[in-house]
Symmetry: C2
Subunit: 596 residues, 2 copies
Amino acid sequence: MSQYQAPLNDMRFATFDVLGVDTCFARLGFTDATRDVLDAVLEEGARFTETVLAPLNAVGDRAGCTLDKATGRVTTPPGFREAYAQFVEGGWSGLTAPPEFGGQGLPHAAGIALKEMIDAANLAWGNFPLLSHGATEALLHHGEDWQRDVFLKPLVEGRWTGTMCLTEPHAGTDLGLLRTRAEPQADGSYSVTGTKIFITAGDHDMTENIVHLVLARLPDAPAGSKGISLFVVPRQRVARDGALGEPNGVRCGSLEHKMGIHGSATCVMNFDGAQGWLVGQPNKGLAAMFTMMNTARLAVGLQGLGLSDRAYQNALRYARERLQMRSASGAKHPDKAADPIIVHPDVRRMLLTCKALIEGGRAMGYHAALLVDIAHAAPNAQEREQADALLGFMTPIVKACLTEWGVECTYHALQCFGGHGYIAEHGVEQLARDARITTLYEGTTGIQALDLLGRKVLQQRGAGLKAMLGMIDALCSEQGDGGAASEFVDALREKTAQWQQLTQRIAERAASNADEVGAASYDYLMFSGYVTLAYWWARSVVASEASSRPAAFKAAKRETARFYFERILPRTLAHAAAMESGAETLTALEADAFDA
Amino acid sequence: MSQYQAPLNDMRFATFDVLGVDTCFARLGFTDATRDVLDAVLEEGARFTETVLAPLNAVGDRAGCTLDKATGRVTTPPGFREAYAQFVEGGWSGLTAPPEFGGQGLPHAAGIALKEMIDAANLAWGNFPLLSHGATEALLHHGEDWQRDVFLKPLVEGRWTGTMCLTEPHAGTDLGLLRTRAEPQADGSYSVTGTKIFITAGDHDMTENIVHLVLARLPDAPAGSKGISLFVVPRQRVARDGALGEPNGVRCGSLEHKMGIHGSATCVMNFDGAQGWLVGQPNKGLAAMFTMMNTARLAVGLQGLGLSDRAYQNALRYARERLQMRSASGAKHPDKAADPIIVHPDVRRMLLTCKALIEGGRAMGYHAALLVDIAHAAPNAQEREQADALLGFMTPIVKACLTEWGVECTYHALQCFGGHGYIAEHGVEQLARDARITTLYEGTTGIQALDLLGRKVLQQRGAGLKAMLGMIDALCSEQGDGGAASEFVDALREKTAQWQQLTQRIAERAASNADEVGAASYDYLMFSGYVTLAYWWARSVVASEASSRPAAFKAAKRETARFYFERILPRTLAHAAAMESGAETLTALEADAFDA
């Protein structure tokens, strides 16, 4: 079974040393979010996830969820329900929710390390409370007063959970195709009918109610994505005074059999005249849903990070214990039958790749979470706007890169185990299977890439890119002359210049051929991710040198940064060349000639 | 469920147009291996694999193998046994085996497309007959006359199957650590005792006997890898006259629960005073085992290819059917609710990556198989030696690259399905799980990389590399001036020059630091694979233009070649940069500082 120990040391480093989150919170007016409080969240979060959630990870994989077809009710794996009760009891569900609805009112970024821990400890379990956050956001920003009064408190307190019901069998990325209908009723409610698929936590046995946020069409709605409205549809009907009523006309029709996250209930949900209430304006549902989706995308990025870290921890332990062959440069442990495999350069290549992507990715992911708070709470409008633009720019990068790297890191970790990695009992193969969903749900990597290049860079004229380039430039100016990260400045300057040129070139091409955007998007995304990560590694070296941490820690940060710049950052060369080749290499072949 | 149709068109193209296998066979004296015969093998092989094996693929995944702990006997999934009977009845098991033992005497390369089809149709099933081939080879080359008489005929006829029993719990890559012992007995046999793990097809219900080829130590054996001998240990004892006797002291102790290939029995085999017979010289077992291992490595490479192709076929079908969003450059199918996703450049990027790696990989893999025949049967010694050197060089490349690309192609294919790819019923997730074993067994990618750079290039002074460079140079000279592949010549020349420089540089560094080999090996391997594939793509364009195939076929080959050169070959830039960075970036960090 794979083990998990929350990487508190590096979490603290990213939070306090690299990002100065506590100072930032003070400036933003989150007076309760002191370093002591944040430390307590880390400590208690580690205890909860290590001792309660982590041991249930393999259990959930083996047992999965089960559906009683007769009742439409889902039973979660042994222990999941009890773990959820402890989660609620510990007050975790409302950690960053507004105090007026029972939350603890901490800023968003104060919960991000906890999020990583939950995902690493038990991704499948973490999916049950996950979407309550999005549902809370949607109702908070778009709901009527009575909806907030009735739904938010139970969601924040964890007595109910939320879902996002978007996808239909024929409508995934293309929500404009969806067919679920909502008929207005005399009492002001709507009768919702249709089938939704891939509904995470669509049903379960953890709470007395479930709050579905459902996209559907009004009878007079225009076709396509401009005719979609958002509805709140609880599993048990809820009166305007909050009283629980009859079961509603919604039930789980079946559970998907999946490659991984077996403990997570992925439901087909059948709405059959279910009572729902319009949230926000008619036909503006997609915009409201995007409020939920952006938070969810950052959250899925963190899932990739968490799984990477757990896989790395286990591979590292194995590489230190497993004795095979002697080091090529002479036996390192002549007293043993063979050297531990961590002496072999190729094993180190795999471990260092994980370490570089994880620790750099942690700084990048936590920073995005901090941008959420800055965009909400910064004292001046310009700072809020800039943070919002940068957040919009970073959201697809964090989502796509951290999940692609999650697939890669779980691959390397499994590979370090050799054949043993393929065997279930070591647990690393489960992490690889679980990671495989993260590049798919909440928008595939390809969709993130289009969002980044098409919308955030080209349509929004690159405000987010400009902000990121400004941060890198500031670091280079500050570090250029004898700074702790001076050895990385030339590479950073070269890459940012290339980034700008590539952006310019693609924009020019796209002006005459719209397919150039999609043709460059994936490579643009990955290029952006690697350059951004280079920035975070340079900043990590600066932060580590400025800290009072032990010499071994500082050396590890610097050596890993060097590894990253020398061995990972050159991947940008391949991505740049692919982008340069243009759309023609992708569009020339006729669709029916792919198997000519 | 995923579908499978043998890609006969491209298999014929690789076999006849690119490689001229039939002409080569005639020159080597394989007079029976005419084009008609090879065509019949393709046609009949397609029928057998498509109709018998392919439908059992999902069955095997769901049912898996089961062990009766009381008897130590393994039951294979429903239908596997009957399919094996049809395989034997069809004469497939002895297709390329010597006629004197009941085989059909066709050359090795005559069976390679069939091998790909079997792997694509049902990898788990294919693992049962797979190792008979290696056992046959080992006994043919190292066995005593009576051993050949007794064991070979049933193996060739498929009445018995073979295994390779190498790995022990503490001894995987490092076979020098193995502990299984063999005590000489009065009758000339040996009593074999020990535990072997990861034994593919270690037990099953398909045949009346199983022939284990087992590595073990004689009582007076020197320590390490120089004290290992090879033994043949049948499940049922076999007298020198071939009569079947009592059950032998060997049984399956348990089955591993694995990430994939559930239908393949991965056994813990307990030898408890089992009667075995020495094969070859005492303490020379490792060399004899390598005879088996090299063939097995090529075979595993083909597994990666087969899985890639099946995954690609299904992704392509889905991409043509699934309607989501409009093409950015204007609706392509305005009559439909949306365009099929194959119009989107990023979906094409994933499909073309598969197509380029598969079709180029097919030429590369089939060529390696042909080298086996040339190395055995070429009329002059120099040609045999050169083929053998090139085969030795290409074996780790074929094994590692085709399996790494198998992981990559199944990744892309699954990604094309979006969230549906993660659901078991579509079958593509099984292919991704099954593919994950191929970079591990028969030597991980890291081990292949060391074999390539350490042994084949640096120790053997690069005869294989020289042969490969010679082939590329000849093509460039021939095509440089207005040839069909002239557009690719500059890139090929540039890459081969870089390949030579990198090899030289690493050799120089390795002279003073042995860790430089392991530090460069993985990137050297992948660099070599991508350059070699570029060669096969250029040759494919030449062969396609010279053929009488339809214009659409020729266009598809050329466009895919262009895609490969422009969008995949640049990956060599990243690999070259990583190699250039040297060992320091991998060895600087202390082993205990990886989680400092």
